[in-house]
Subunit: 370 residues, 2 copies
């Protein structure tokens, strides 16, 4: 008898056929992982349990008493730190808006088959931890190192490859003041919840979620760029499956609207009364402050400027915005779009790639005014 | 011009056509609401953010400084309690397993179109609050009262009916020692998270989730049975749309298995190595203690007994169970089923009704041993 192989249950990435409904596999991911309920955009810091979560494999069991962070590879002094040693180092707190690289994927046509986000894979938290550069300075990075590889405790199979979850960062972002990478042990003033990486995770402000390795067990300095699955196979911008593709890194600008009025349970269409309707939301970019938010009540045919909060002390946290809409009876589609200080702006037509990554197509909120 | 009406965006309940994939409306609910990631069955008390959540409309904004609970209707002394007054009353803490009445709906054939749960809409928390009967005794329930109606602050449209979320309980469960209904202000030792009803919710141990009204604003004693939408239209067991149907109340027995080994990302199929594989999970029933858990590795053709924890001091909390499986190479389907002290047992064929309620068909966990 031929023994079964992983390829039986773990198949290559694919794009849905035209008109193909959401499959059982996509649904199983959607019932586990969750986005930010959009009314929770009202909170500047997202309360526990409302921040988006994507877990590739299982949330690992973690024993804080035995947890170790190993820092090794091309360093002068390998480190083996327990949680008490990490917490004894000087910590900083940074407010960071985090977004899944696959946010918006389920609205793409054709649809890449993976976690089927609509627009809600985002959240903002106050992360407290030790700057990565503090620990790397203590270990002493050797001159031949080019990247740091981060390994999490979550283990699984993905597209045929069995793996611990691993990602790397070039030494520039890993050791620089900007974006100021953290080894975070605290979220919103409390120990990390299990699904957010308890007891230790990486936080890479301004980068999509795949960079923020959870359940962090080791940091390994390497002399050649890392080619692991999550770096070289997943999280690349590709039009064709055999392209090398550019890596997914920083968060493209996006504005979201907290849907006004009240919803219909099943369609989630909003209902508002005629007259002035306050509109509010948040906007962010991993490339720089948001400098303009526009909104539209006609599906993007015409736009008006919203009032945006200036960037605060946390350059990688979202900024609030407000506007007022004079609603008249009928069906409408509300949208918002953000522009950042680098001139990047959200597109009105979908930026498609096979992974559905970095897609910041403007949101559409259907509204009935009656 | 004819003005638009709510019926344009809020349509009657329906059952999916044969082979109809999960729709955009079901996906929008699945990305907002979330289940328990099944590996989190390892925790006796579910950590924040992992307990299942179903929000019918929006999570309302709540100002604790102005929040009031009004107790009125057929009472001798109407009450208007602020949070400080409620917290000053004697509180109790109860460990309660809560499950959505629609758990398992998305596995039904044909599939009722609503929140598409697979098997994960469950969680267990320590709820602290004031017994409802304490507050009702203070108000003095008049002899002509037959039910208490509970109104939450969430507002929306559902199947064409605009409403505040409202449910009722007969006076027996509302005022009795069993199941011991709570006005809960604390979850796992902390203020309720917004999505779990902050600042105040009802907890009805042993009943499906629809009874545990969140964001509770009022308790009104009434002299005739309540006929609001969530009582008389939704949450009834019906085979045909025009039936009256029996009301959904207590939780039917269920065992869940924490899937062993590690998962494939996309299919969520489990991978284990040949040899002994520890199996573990939780089982519960709203009708009484679980007295037997059996497990199967061949899709339910043969069954063996698991070892179950005896019921502890919390009669409405789940009980752990364990077994050991000798895995051999190949494809397998693991299942578990619970029986409770009343003799109720999980079915091997789907208990179908139009709402997909109270469906405790046994779980199937696909596993590859290689």
């Amino acid at each position: 008898m031929e023994l079964p192989s992983l390829g039986e249950v773990s198949t290559p990435g694919r794009v849905a056929a035209p008109g193909e409904g959401i499959g059982g596999d996509e649904l199983a991911l959607a019932t586990r992982n969750h986005g930010l309920p959009l009314e929770a955009l009202r909170y500047e810091v997202t309360p526990p349990g409302l921040h988006y979560v994507l877990v590739h494999y299982d949330i690992p069991a973690a024993d804080p008493a035995t947890w170790r962070l190993a820092v090794g590879g091309l360093v002068d002094t390998p480190l083996d730190l327990d949680l008490a040693a990490l917490r004894a180092l000087p910590s900083v707190t940074r407010r960071v808006t985090m977004e899944c690289a696959g946010n918006g994927r389920a609205r793409l046509s054709p649809r890449p088959v993976s976690q089927p986000w609509l627009v809600e894979a985002v959240g903002t938290a106050d992360w407290t931890g030790v700057p990565l550069r503090t620990v790397l300075a203590e270990a002493g990075v050797r001159p031949d190192a080019v990247e740091a590889v981060f390994t999490g405790a979550d283990h699984g199979v993905e597209r045929g490859t069995e793996q611990d979850h691993q990602r790397s960062l070039p030494l520039g972002p890993a050791t620089g003041e900007d974006p100021g990478v953290l080894l975070a042990h605290t979220m919103n003033g409390r120990p990390l919840p299990p699904q957010h990486g308890y007891p230790l995770r990486l936080v890479v402000p301004g980068w999509y979620g795949m960079a923020h390795v959870k359940w962090l067990r080791s940091v390994t300095l390497v002399g050649t760029p890392f080619t692991g699955f999550q770096q070289a196979v997943a999280y690349r911008f590709r039009q064709e499956p055999d392209e090398l593709g550019e890596p997914v890194t920083r968060i493209a600008p996006r504005a979201l609207l907290a849907p006004p009025g009240f919803p219909d349970f099943m369609s989630r269409t909003r209902v508002v009364r005629p007259g002035p309707v306050p509109l509010a939301g948040r906007a962010w970019s991993g490339f720089g402050p948001v400098t303009r938010v526009e909104w539209s009540a006609d599906g993007g045919r015409s736009w008006a400027d919203a009032v945006i909060e200036p960037p605060g002390p946390h350059p990688y946290a979202w900024q609030g915005w407000r506007a007022e809409w004079q609603a008249v009876p009928g069906r409408h589609a509300l949208s918002a779009r953000a522009r950042d200080a680098t001139g990047r702006v959200q597109p009105l037509e979908q930026p498609w790639n096979r992974g559905g990554f970095g897609n910041n197509l403007v949101q559409q909120v259907p509204v009935l005014c009656c």
